[in-house]
Subunit: 361 residues, 2 copies
Amino acid sequence: MKRRELLAAGAVALAGCAGEQADCGPGSGPAERFDWKLVTTWPPNFPGLGTGVLKLVEMIEAASGGRLRIKVYAAGELVPAFEVFDTVSSGTAEMGHGSAYYWKGKTEAAQLFTAIPFGMTAMEMNGWMYHGGGLELYQELYEQFNLVPFPAGNTGVQMGGWFNREINSLDDLQGLKMRIPGLGGEVLKRAGGTPVNLPGADIFTALQTGSIDATEWIGPYNDVAFGLHQAARYYYYPGWQEPGPVLECTVNRDAWLSLPEDLKAIVGIACSAINDQMTAEFVARNAQSLDKLRAEGQVEIRSFPPEVLDELRRIADEVLQDLVQRDPAAARIHDSFAAYRESAAGWSAISEQAMLNARGG
Amino acid sequence: MKRRELLAAGAVALAGCAGEQADCGPGSGPAERFDWKLVTTWPPNFPGLGTGVLKLVEMIEAASGGRLRIKVYAAGELVPAFEVFDTVSSGTAEMGHGSAYYWKGKTEAAQLFTAIPFGMTAMEMNGWMYHGGGLELYQELYEQFNLVPFPAGNTGVQMGGWFNREINSLDDLQGLKMRIPGLGGEVLKRAGGTPVNLPGADIFTALQTGSIDATEWIGPYNDVAFGLHQAARYYYYPGWQEPGPVLECTVNRDAWLSLPEDLKAIVGIACSAINDQMTAEFVARNAQSLDKLRAEGQVEIRSFPPEVLDELRRIADEVLQDLVQRDPAAARIHDSFAAYRESAAGWSAISEQAMLNARGG
């Protein structure tokens, strides 16, 4: 099956059944059952992410009347978090849930499908994915790995992190040891800081003992669950490094092709539904957790000064240009991403941004 | 069936199958077929809205393998737009698609489930609906009408509209004849303007002939489709009246209860998926249309001065308080809405708003 045909089937949630409606899955044997495994990059019941995967699976099982059953394995239960990609690629598990930028060791271009510094918000990423060519490029990139990817959740804007000092100028970034992975870490490094890569479980202690000066994680909901507000001073900064990180559901391509059309539709639609619901859950839980932090006097919100943001933005462009120079796939995807971002930013400026500013005034 | 049970089934997209997974719809007879009608408030193939409904139906038909087939009737094809509510309530059609504020003649409280001036963005509305008690209140309000409602799309922030003059002060609103329905119209009236209610099809001529001075409609995508940029001067203002209007899918309660569990799940999940996708489509198409308007020099973007926004916001609070005073159902819903908005706005200020401002700087 050609990629184009695969897309036509896979993207039912976007395009509907490709042919006549009468051809949509009537041949699916109602007795045919599938028992699949889904491996995730998230710890068991991890708030918002791990629990979102459980909800995704519940939706698929309920909508299929139990014809497609999926057993979920959290990180470490079947394979470690960072083996999810290979495990689904090889078919050892039929599905995976994680985020594309974890796979930059396989293909650096994947990072563009999650988030880049000063990139796009959740709503803008969805616009690019569904209507700006993003999803086609995503599917094309993953085809060589025998994977069919779907956007399946978004954390919304991630916070800039917790700092044991105020950042009042670029000088304050010099020598700053901060847990910040990926492209954001590269930007910090070029700005004079020292990015450190630590798994989530080690962050609290590192911050508390002072072996790092700062850390980003996700947002109030998950940060509070880790106790980060109690590990460091209370300076909490808005984000710049991940404006709307997309979470992904991957399906092994052979497993995908083995599904009847109606179950393909159900998987595609459920991924879109969890994209809707997980984003909403992060909005709701982050707001609740922030309220609690404020009520308990456990946070001091600060803003990066404009000169710091300007410099981080300038460096972020450099980092992206370097990525584009060394990776032709990234160059092609970045062309699409950058053009879309410019267009979307023009609209956001007079819609979401103008509205939020008008409301808050 | 009690509402609570109905919700448990209806909210499968949110809560998953209520009981043991083995009970999720295995009893659904695979041969049982349903032929339903869906009536909409939108003209045939209306961009984004009418086309979104067709996509919703395609998803349901594909996921059900054709067991639930739905014939879509645009406004006027089976019943006029503003009879959608009664038509689904009575069961003449099993499903409807429109927006809750159209039904304020039935129950004024319904408006809170679409949008109120300076209310909540699309992402915030989803947070309230799914995790802030909004959906439960929505279902409770509609139960008396024999309807089960689902959020099923969002246009995102609607533009403030096209004006034949610049609005530089409150004086410029005095006597302004503007097509603006609902609560926004009431706010304009109290600010000294003259709100006019016109169906979409009549707006272009009214604006062109000068029988109105201004009009809001939706956003660049739909406004350009109506030619509004050619009907008036080019002053185009960001919105304040509808920050994130929710579109709704309603299902006749008896028809809903007749569905096997797996088809209930499919309908619920498809509504959530179209909520995801329609929102993304408006982001994408509005951005494209705005680019085109700008490239062709057919728009001059202006901003309402802070004093105008402050006054509109003050009046909007008054209008809401009056609604709450005269309608106990609205009071209860508004309590939930207002508390949620305050919390969500605190989070948006340091997430979406801070990010958009940082990116644009």
